[in-house]
């Protein structure tokens, strides 16, 4: 994770890829979203999705997983350089979440994040507020997922 001062609009991070296997899709769906097209191949084929499709909340949760892993890599790199490590704050929410195309069993999604806005927090001077657009692209190069997320990011001199 970087400090607020180090973040620039337009900065992009490649977060890595994740393969949604049928087993993972069904396991998440059984717990959180047991709609028939998330649980059964045949039901998926008959649905608008055209195949066994991951729950949209599974896709969003995997994007979060890769964001956290990317933040940890950056923290380790900063620590290795002997720099102070920034710890990401909580998020007040998101807008414009789009499940653009289905994520089907066997699809590999590449996630990335790009900074769109940054501003100071009026109520919490030790924090800044950053908006980032997270996107997911499948193995055919099609945009399948997009989200405009907001997060508190610590200021270098704040903590």
């Amino acid at each position: 994770m970087r400090f607020f001062e180090d973040i620039e609009i337009g900065q992009r991070r490649e977060l890595g890829s994740f393969t949604f296997t049928a087993e993972l899709i069904k396991r998440f769906a059984a717990q959180f979203d047991p709609q028939r097209f998330h649980l059964d191949e045949e039901e998926g084929r008959k649905s608008l999705f055209g195949g066994l499709a991951a729950s949209g909340w599974h896709v969003g949760s995997v994007c979060m997983k890769l964001l956290v892993a990317d933040g940890q890599r950056q923290a380790e790199e900063a620590a290795a350089r002997g720099e102070k490590v920034a710890i990401l704050g909580p998020s007040p929410g998101f807008r414009e979440l789009r499940w653009i195309k289905p994520v089907l069993a066997g699809d590999t999604i590449h996630f990335a994040s790009e900074i769109e806005t940054k501003r100071s927090s009026e109520t919490r001077p030790e924090w800044g507020i950053v908006q980032g657009r997270h996107t997911g692209i499948n193995q055919r190069g099609e945009l399948v997922y997009s989200l405009l997320a907001t997060a508190f990011v610590p200021r270098r001199n704040g903590c």
Partner: protein, 155 residues
């Protein structure tokens, strides 16, 4: 009976729950999808902005989906959702919370591109037992129309 587009007029739809969330569930979800210290480690969490162990916001979203499924989506002719217009995390999810889901329909219209379906926009609010709002979501869901009504309009 399966619920169709016609069963979702604008207005208050229903309140569902309670749904209890355990510490073990919070830790398991965080370990798999959101391993930040504020969701995994009691000591680190107490020093975070959220002041104590809290569930991942994505866990809360996933629980909200499950509460919607148990409440009505499981018996609705739902075709899925194109996305979420806005989601706000307002109060942290805590171990042992008993969650209630309140559902309102803000808009219901027939799809122009697929007239056998309608688009129902839901406003969902999750509250804890103390009545504090944990999150608020505005999201459309595509729902099939009753076949005889949809055909009648096409004819």
């Amino acid at each position: 009976m399966t619920l169709t587009f016609e069963d979702f007029p604008p207005g208050h739809f229903g309140t569902f729950g309670p749904h209890r969330v355990s510490r073990e569930e919070i830790l398991a979800f965080a370990a798999e999808f959101d391993p930040q210290p504020m969701h995994l480690d009691e000591e680190a969490a107490s020093q975070s902005m959220l002041k104590g162990l809290s569930g991942s916001g994505w866990h809360l979203c996933s629980i909200m989906m499950r509460m919607m499924f148990d409440g009505f989506i499981g018996r609705t002719a739902s075709l899925g959702s194109p996305g979420v217009n806005e989601l706000r995390w307002l109060t942290p999810l805590r171990p042992g919370d008993d969650l209630m889901l309140d559902v309102e329909i803000t808009e219901a219209r027939v799809s122009r591109s697929r007239p056998s379906t309608g688009i129902v926009t839901f406003k969902c609010v999750i509250r804890n037992a103390a009545g504090q709002e944990l999150c608020e979501m505005i999201s459309p869901i595509i729902v099939e129309r009753r076949p005889e009504l949809a055909l009648g309009q096409v004819g």
